[in-house]
């Protein structure tokens, strides 16, 4: 997600943060059991809110998960704050005492990585796309600074950027003990460091933000690349997907239809705007508007997506 969009989400959140501190312990105890649900044998997921990050939701806006093998556990994304990461860890511990072997980050955005510090000291190896380290270097400091205003100092004080020690160049298989999961690094789409995780045993795909449902897709990489990846994504023989945002589980590959439709509409509108001689500002206002009612947070992100698409396509026009 664009750093600016996070900055834009300031909304009287400091007051809410103070309230949360008072009621915190009670909420945490209740949250453990309900935090993650089993969606397939040994596969657990947590649904984040469909919202912008703020102090009230503690940055809990992304779908997270974990996979349990005979030897240990792989965690997929850690949430938008250490508070959320700790709740995820507690949820794992309520299911199994096996060691956390891997913490896999599907990409660099704060709502997926700010909880990483909760998993330091578990002995887990942190895993990411080969481009994740440089994404953290070029964007990390900016995220840390920007989010102090958005989710507040109280939540941000524990956040540390914990980068991957294991990089996925293309495709890697990781053995959790009688259960091998497949990690795949994608060419630029949502970001330039998108990773998906596939469990062949249950045919469950953790798509990270390569798949959005209900929540408007966010282009922070390449819309051309994303559309190009969709064919290969659809070929993954999963029966169910955990998208990065939206309902926790959806059928596969049907879950791709919505965002494919959005990209095709957005790109079509942008290319028509370019051909007509419309300016970038005009296209940002108008492209993709027919999709408005299909997506939550449309007003927050569509103009940004249209801007990105315009810049990608304006040199194509002969």
């Amino acid at each position: 997600m664009d750093g600016l969009r996070f900055v834009a989400a300031i909304a009287g959140s400091i007051a809410s943060a103070a309230l949360l501190t008072v009621t915190g312990p009670v909420e945490l105890a209740r949250a453990d059991e309900a935090f993650a649900v089993e969606i397939a044998p040994g596969i657990y997921g947590h649904a984040g809110s469909i919202a912008m990050m703020d102090a009230a939701n503690e940055g809990d806006i992304a779908n997270l998960g974990f996979v349990v093998g005979e030897k240990g556990v792989a965690v997929i994304d850690t949430g938008g704050s250490v508070a959320v990461g700790k709740r995820l860890l507690a949820a794992i511990r309520s299911v199994t005492k096996k060691p956390i072997l891997f913490v896999i980050n599907t990409h660099v955005h704060p709502d997926h990585i700010f909880g990483n510090a909760a998993f330091e000291g578990t002995g887990a190896q942190f895993v990411g796309h080969r481009n994740l380290p440089r994404a953290l270097e070029s964007h990390g400091a900016f995220y840390l600074k920007a989010f102090r205003n958005i989710i507040g100092d109280e939540l941000m004080k524990d956040v540390r950027l914990v980068g991957p020690t294991l990089l996925v160049q293309d495709v890697s298989k990781v053995d959790l003990g009688g259960r091998e999961i497949e990690l795949r690094a994608w060419p630029p789409a949502h970001t330039d460091c998108d990773l998906t995780v596939y469990d062949p045993a249950t045919r469950t795909l953790f798509a990270g933000d390569t798949v959005f449902l209900r929540h408007i897709p966010i282009i922070d990489g390449s819309v051309k690349g994303w559309l190009a990846n969709i064919g290969a994504l659809a070929d993954i023989p999963a029966v169910r997907v955990v998208p990065g945002h939206g309902p926790l589980v959806a059928p596969w590959p049907a879950a791709l239809a919505e965002e494919r439709g959005y990209f095709e509409r957005l790109i079509g509108d942008v290319r028509a705007a370019i051909a007509k001689g419309d300016s970038l500002a005009q296209a940002a206002d108008e492209a993709g508007q027919s999709e408005k009612d299909k997506w939550r947070l449309f007003g927050d992100y569509n103009a940004r997506n249209a801007t990105a698409a315009f810049a990608e396509y304006e040199w194509d026009q002969p």
């Binding site: 070029s138 300016s279 040199w315």
Partner: protein, 274 residues
């Protein structure tokens, strides 16, 4: 950029006019104690009075940028018809940017340029000033406030390899006539316009600044406009402008960057070309 500042200052000194008009630093946001504008105004315009004049000069910019590294802005001027005065120069200043002077556009005498649109980098929440200088030496300005962050340090969209492969490619497009019936055209140039504040993806060091410092558009032999610019212009500089056709058959663009590399292109005036 330092040398260029001196050039602008000395040229500006020629205009020194005892113009007893309103001097106003009115901006979209009221001046804070740390408001950089008074100092910037002194640096670029010495103590010449600057009139806040939305009747003559206007600036279109988003209140909140969608992409801080690609913020569209439209600079427009409108003088009362039949008057003797004309706009000589447009200076765009993003107050809080590391290099606040974005560009100075010199308008061709007979070119009839009434608007120029481009994309800029905005590094933090800021006032943006557009100052028009008329041929009588008077200065007229307008201001907008833009919310954006990190535009100057945002990584290049293209990979360095792509940037090298496409460097200097140009496009020219005739556009449909503008709202006021004026002819409009578009000039695009592929250039990373590195700010010097972007981290290189491979080395993790900062990519050295390399930017288009001069670009000029001609209709036949007549100057349409020229731009002296810096790192606040976005990657792949892009200029959309209105103009009065002079019957010339060819549009020409000459540009150079801070590494001393020259780029040029020419196209038939009535057709698109790449």
């Amino acid at each position: 950029m330092g040398n260029k500042l001196k050039t602008w200052l000395s040229v500006g000194a020629l205009g020194g006019l005892a113009f007893c008009a309103l001097v106003s630093n009115a901006s979209a946001q009221s001046a804070q104690p740390d408001d950089p504008w008074p100092e910037l105004a002194r640096t670029f315009f010495q103590d010449r009075p600057i009139v806040s004049d939305p009747a003559i000069v206007s600036l279109e910019a988003p209140g909140r940028a969608e992409d801080a590294a690609l913020v569209p802005m439209t600079l427009s001027v409108e003088l009362p018809p039949g008057g003797a005065r004309r706009v000589v120069r447009l200076s765009l200043i993003i107050d809080e940017n590391p290099v606040p002077l974005v560009a100075v556009f010199k308008l061709g005498e007979k070119a009839g340029v009434t608007s120029i649109s481009t994309r800029v980098r905005v590094n933090s929440y800021t006032n943006v000033h557009l100052v028009a200088e008329l041929d009588d030496g008077s200065l007229h300005m307008t201001t907008r406030y833009v919310k954006a962050a990190g535009g100057c340090s945002a990584p290049m969209v293209k990979s360095p390899d792509e940037a090298d492969a496409t460097l200097g490619q140009m496009k020219f497009r005739r556009l449909p006539d503008g709202v006021d019936g004026r002819r409009e055209a578009l000039v695009m140039l592929r250039h990373p316009n590195n700010s010097g504040m972007q981290m290189d993806q491979i080395s993790h060091l900062y990519t050295p600044a390399r930017y288009i410092d001069r670009l000029a558009v001609y209709q036949g032999d007549d100057l349409v406009f020229s731009m002296e610019g810096g790192i606040s212009i976005s990657e792949d500089p892009n200029f959309r402008f209105s103009y009065a056709p002079n019957g010339a058959k060819t549009f020409r663009v000459e540009a150079s960057d801070s590494n001393g590399v020259h780029f040029s292109g020419a196209w038939p005036a009535d057709r698109d070309g790449a």
